[in-house]
Symmetry: C2
Subunit: 414 residues, 2 copies
DNA sequence: CCTTTTATTTCGAGGCTCGAAAAAAATAGT
DNA sequence: ACTATTTTTTTCGAGCCTCGAAATAAAAGG
C-alpha cells in the first residue's frame, strides 16, 4: 500500500518508454510520426530522441527511401540500433533445447537446436548444455557490437512466480531447478524464466495485437496441455507459481489418471497420451505413456476422420474435456479470444464440435458472444518469438528507459 | 498500446493520491508522519498538504490530545474532512434494499433498509425505491455540508464490466437493468455498480490488509454462491461481465440442475437450495426452491451435526463441490487466502473436511502451502463497508487527487 | 536564387520535487 | 522570566521535465 512516489525523472522514464515502444512496434518512425503517435509535444520528442540517439539506443536513417518525394525538410527515420545489445533466447521442451541469439532490432543472429533426452537428465546437465550453446553463440562474434544484456528462457513446465525456478515439469525427473539464478551467474545478466505458454501468448500479442489485446488465452495442445493467459494486457501468473495450469483443472472428479499423479485432470482426457490411451481402448487408469510419436498421433487422427469408431470417440472425449475447461475458465474470466497452438491445433476439426458443445450456453450473461478460436499448428517459432520479445521489451521498458525500473504504476500491495 | 504520456502534474496527482490514501488508512497523521510514510520530502508533503487543507479536503487538528508531552513544536494531525463530500451506498439483495449515506471521513450519516419482494419487481420499481430512499437521506440534511459526489451500488447478480448494468440476477426476473446510468441521471454523480462479492473483497482488504493483499478471494455462501477476486491488489473482473462466477463453474458434467438453468454447476451442489434438496432426498434434477428459510437451514445444520445421515451427507456434498471449485481456481491462480462469508460460513465445520479433502494434493507445485480459510458469518455489514470504501477511495484517487483521473499507470491495451 | 513547405531544434515559462536553511512552537533549565 | 534546546513545518533556490512559440534546417517549386 506504500505506493511509489513520483519524481520528475519518472516522467522522463515513462515518456522514453513510450517512444521506444512505438519505435519497436512500428519500425521506421520520424520524430514527427512519434509526436503524433505518442501525444508528446515536438520539443519533448526531440529531446528524448536526441538522448536516445546519443546513447546509441536508436539509429537515425538520414537517406530514407526515395518514396518520399515530398516538399519540405525530409523526415529522418529512426530505428532500434541492432548493435546496442543482444538477448539470449532459450527454450526447453521434451528432448530438445533451442538456443538463439537476437539483436536489439529483433534480428536473429544465431539459432541452434540440440536433441537430448530430458527425462534422465539433471538440471546441471541441461544448464551445462544451454550455457555451452549460448556461450558459443555469443563468442562467435557474429552481429558484432552489443553485449548480451538479457536472457529469456521458457520451459515446458511450471515455474515460480518470480521467474527464477522451474518447480516441476513433465519432461524431467528433477524438480526445483534454478535455471534463472544459474544463468545469471553464468552470463551476468538478468534472466526471465517462464512457462512456454506464456511466451506463446506474448508472441501472439505481438504479431496480432488487434485480435489479442487485453484478455486472451493461448492453449498449447501438445505433450501436455498448458495455457498462457493475458489479463488486462499483462501476462498473468499466480502468486506462487506460474500457475494457469489449465490442463490440471479437474474435469471428472476422481476420473482418469493423469501424468501429474492426480485423477480427472483435463489433460488426462485431452493430452496426446490420453487420446492414444482411449483410442487403444485401454482403461483410463492405465499409466500414461511417456511420449507419443507424432506419426502415431497423425495416423490416429486420420483414422478418426475416416471412420466413426473408437479413435474418433477418443478425440471427442478430448474435445469435451477442453470444452469444459474453457467453460470453467469463462466462468471466471469471460469468453475471450482463444488460440489453440501445437499438434492439437492440427486436429481441431476433430475436437471442435465437442468443444463448442460443452461451451454452449455458458458464454457469459449478456447473450450472444461468439467465441473466437484460432489455430496455430506450429508452436516452436511462436515460443521463440515470445521469448525474444519478452527480453527486448524488458530492455525497452526497464533498461533503456533509464535507470532501474522504478515504474510509474502504483505498486500493487504491501 | 498507445500508453499515457506523463506530464508534470501527473507527478503531483500521484503524490497527492499517496498522501490522501495514507491519511485515510491511518487516520490522524502529521506532516512528519506522512514524510516517513510516503517517502516524499518534507517540503513536498508540506506543499501538498497545504493545498489539500486549503481546498477543504483535509482538516487540521491543532489541539491534539495531551498524550504528546514531548519537547519541540507539536505535530498537527490531519484527517479527512467529513464535510467535504458524501457518498451513497446501495445494496440490493434478495427481498431487501439497503441504502446508506456516508461522509468523506467514513462516518455513516444515515442507513435504511427496505424489505420488498424483488422477484416480481421491475428495475423501474427498484430504482424508484432506491432513489426515494437516497434522496430522503440526502435532503434530511444531517451531516450538513458536503455534496453527494459518488454512489456505489452492489447487487446479488452479474454486472457488466463497465459497472453500469446488472446483466442477470437470481433475485429478479428482469434482465439488463441499467442501475448505473439511471442513478447517475437521478443524482448527477458517477455510479459504480458491482457484484456484492467484489465489495466483500474490498471490505476485507480494507479491514485486514495484512492478510488480504495481492491475490485473494472472498466467497459468499448464501442464496447463491458468488466470488469476489482480487488479483495483484486490484479487483478482478472479466472483459465483458463482472464474471468470477465461481458458483457456475462445472463441477459434474451434465450433473445436478442449477438455478441458472444449466447443469452440474457448483451451486447446484453447494447452494442452500441444493443442500436442502439433497437433505430432503430429492433427485438432484428437482427444480431449485426459490428461497430457503434461514431457520430451516439452521435446523438442517443442527441435524447434520448431531447424527450421521442424509443431512450430513448433503453438507459433505456441498463441501466437495466447493473444494473442487477451489481446486480449479487454484489451478489457474494458486492457493490464496480464502474468505468464506455468509450463512455458509456458519456451517463451516460441516463442510470443511470435504473442502480440504478435495483440495489436498492440488496446492501448487512447490509443496507445502497451507490453505488459509477464514470465515465471516455476517455478509451484510461487509458489503456495505466495501461499497463505502469503493466510493471513498474513488474520491481520494480520482477526484481529490486533482482533475480527471488520467492515471499514472500505463493503459493496459488498445 | 528566392519562396514555400515540412521537420526539427532552441528558448523561455511554468510545474514539480528536493535539500538546506529559516521560521515556528513547544519544553527544559537557570 | 528568559534563554537554550528540540522538533515540526515552511521557505527558497537548484535542477528536472514538458510545452508552446519562435527560430532554424533542409528539401522542392517556380
Amino acid at each position: 500500500m506504500a505506493g511509489a512516489i513520483a519524481r520528475s525523472d519518472d516522467v522522463r522514464r515513462q515518456n522514453r518508454r513510450l517512444v521506444l515502444t512505438a519505435v519497436r512496434r512500428r519500425g521506421a518512425l520520424s520524430r514527427t510520426d512519434l509526436t503524433g503517435m505518442t501525444g508528446l509535444s515536438a520539443s519533448t520528442v526531440s529531446a528524448i530522441v536526441a538522448a536516445l540517439v546519443s546513447e546509441g539506443v536508436l539509429l537515425e536513417n538520414r537517406d530514407s527511401d526515395g518514396s518520399t518525394v515530398r516538399r519540405g525538410r525530409p523526415q529522418v527515420s529512426l530505428m532500434p540500433n541492432p548493435d546496442i545489445a543482444k538477448v539470449g533466447v532459450v527454450n526447453l521442451s521434451l528432448n530438445s533445447i533451442t538456443v538463439a541469439l537476437v539483436d536489439y532490432a529483433g534480428g536473429t543472429i544465431a539459432e541452434q537446436i540440440a536433441d537430448l533426452p530430458t527425462w534422465p537428465a539433471t538440471g546441471r546437465d541441461l544448464l551445462a548444455e544451454i550455457s555451452a550453446m549460448l556461450r558459443q553463440q555469443v563468442q562467435s562474434g557474429a552481429g558484432s557490437g552489443g553485449k548480451l544484456m538479457h536472457i529469456s528462457m521458457s520451459v515446458q513446465g511450471v515455474t515460480d512466480a518470480a521467474g527464477e525456478k522451474m518447480l516441476w515439469a513433465p519432461i524431467i525427473r528433477e524438480r526445483n531447478i534454478g535455471f534463472g539464478p544459474a544463468l545469471t551467474r553464468a552470463f551476468g545478466v538478468p534472466v526471465a524464466l517462464a512457462n512456454d505458454c506464456t511466451m506463446l501468448a506474448e508472441a501472439l500479442r505481438w504479431t496480432d495485437p488487434d485480435h489479442y489485446s487485453g484478455d486472451f488465452a493461448a492453449i498449447l495442445l501438445s505433450y501436455g496441455i498448458g495455457m498462457g493467459l493475458y489479463l488486462k494486457g499483462k501476462p498473468f501468473s499466480g502468486s506462487h507459481s506460474s500457475a494457469a495450469e489449465f490442463g490440471h483443472m479437474a474435469h471428472i472428479p476422481y476420473g482418469a489418471l493423469c501424468r501429474c499423479g492426480r485423477r480427472g485432470c483435463i489433460e488426462a482426457y485431452a493430452g496426446d497420451y490420453a487420446i492414444w490411451r482411449n483410442a487403444m481402448g485401454m482403461p483410463d487408469t492405465a499409466p500414461p505413456a511417456f511420449s507419443i510419436d507424432a506419426k502415431v498421433f497423425t495416423e490416429l487422427a486420420e483414422q478418426a476422420r475416416e471412420t466413426a469408431g473408437i479413435e474418433r470417440e477418443a478425440f471427442h472425449t478430448a474435445g469435451r474435456a477442453i470444452g469444459f475447461g474453457l467453460n470453467n475458465l469463462f466462468s471466471l474470466i469471460d469468453p475471450v479470444p482463444i488460440a489453440l497452438v501445437g499438434p492439437g491445433a492440427r486436429v481441431f476439426d476433430l475436437i471442435e464440435p465437442e468443444i463448442r458443445n460443452a461451451i454452449s450456453g455458458s458464454a457469459g450473461w449478456d447473450g450472444a458472444q461468439e467465441l473466437a478460436i484460432r489455430c496455430y499448428p506450429e508452436e516452436h517459432p511462436l515460443i521463440l518469438q515470445g521469448c525474444a520479445m519478452t527480453s527486448l521489451l524488458h530492455l525497452d521498458a526497464d533498461v533503456f528507459s533509464g535507470g532501474e525500473a522504478r515504474g510509474f504504476s502504483q505498486t500493487s500491495a504491501a
